[in-house]
Symmetry: C2
Subunit: 186 residues, 2 copies
DNA sequence: AAAGGTATGTTATATTATCACATAAGCTGA
DNA sequence: TCAGCTTATGTGATAATATAACATACCTTT
């Protein structure tokens, strides 16, 4: 009776060249920030990058096990903390799971900033997620108008943002289209 | 060695008349929705209302214990699920804790709608929280422009919102003012 | 090599949440 | 009223997520 979660995540045997390239990029970003993307952190980021879904800490832990090595939870959590702090991944609160930051994947100016902001130098690295309850997909969106509205409100209140999460659960376009529309109520 | 959390929440011995009034109001709201605010649910909502802070499930559990009665976790979680479904409380994901919905406390039109929305009949009962890391205060804000921005984005994407949470962590105005402003970095 | 910071290993345990199954309580219609 | 249904609760066990505390290793600078 394994204690692993029942989630059917598929981890590839080996990392794709594309993933390797992203890891190299992440490495460069860390270096630029005076931080070290150690082998272990790199491994864990690699696992997160190579699964097309949010991954739980214990999924990672399972995946890291070999006959030789049985890492304990702190190993994973420490790496996750590092990756979070350096803006390489996000935690999705509602799922207690982790995904790569889209900026690492797509942006050209990726993580130009250094992420320990205070005052009103809020960096755009704030995450917004659409979580589909049906197909479990999670997509990260970056909508400046949401962010602006949040910023404005905080400024009005004198509240200093350090981090924020915006998580929207529902049905993605695809799943919504493939369901009989349920009765409306109001 | 109690397993209770170390949080120093203060629960009053008895409920204030104001809290009682809110409970009656909640009761009426439930009735209107064809649901029953049973004695147990009422008790738990009462506890949440009477603490001026987010409360964890196990805090509630501790508080409910008497020499006669040792409720188990499902008792609390079932009541919390009910209260969430009926829009009487919110869960703060980042804290794994619960607070009353401000609409119950303040609004006149409180929870006029019935909360199992689909399609684009998104009800305003969506929560937005400012969480102070220093003093641990949590305030719920209701900013239509944030909500509008979220709604617009979702509509563009074809995403059907079922629920959402917006959680902003940082320093409240008071705490921000009482700190030496730390060095800026960018 | 010594010293100091950073990173990792390891054991134990804390904290949060759910499952599964039994019992009770409230509601409805004959 | 009571049989039968639905809803609510009790109870024991356990799952899933996360951290504390302390030891060891590793890396860099002197």
């Amino acid at each position: 009776m394994k204690s692993a979660t029942q989630s059917a995540l598929v981890f590839p045997e080996t990392l794709s060249p594309a993933t390797q390239a992203l890891l190299d990029r992440a490495d460069a970003l860390c270096t630029r920030q005076g931080a070290r993307l150690t082998q272990q952190r790199r491994e864990i980021l690699g696992l997160i990058l190579s699964v097309n879904a949010p991954v739980g800490a214990y999924d990672l832990l399972e995946q890291m096990k070999t006959p030789d090595r049985r890492p304990a939870p702190p190993t994973v959590y420490r790496a996750l903390d590092f990756l979070l702090e350096h803006g390489l991944i996000h935690r999705i609160e509602r799922l207690s799971a982790f995904v790569p930051c889209t900026h690492l994947l797509h942006d050209d100016h990726a993580a130009g900033c250094n992420h320990d902001h205070d005052q009103d130098s809020i960096c755009l690295h704030t995450a917004q997620f659409l979580i589909c309850r049906s197909c479990k997909s999670v997509i990260e969106i970056t909508n400046p108008s949401i962010l602006d509205a949040v910023r404005t409100t905080c400024r009005e209140q004198g509240f200093v943002i350090q981090s924020s999460s915006i998580e929207i659960e529902g049905l993605c376009a695809h799943c919504a289209a493939h369901r009989k529309t349920p009765a409306h109520q109001h």
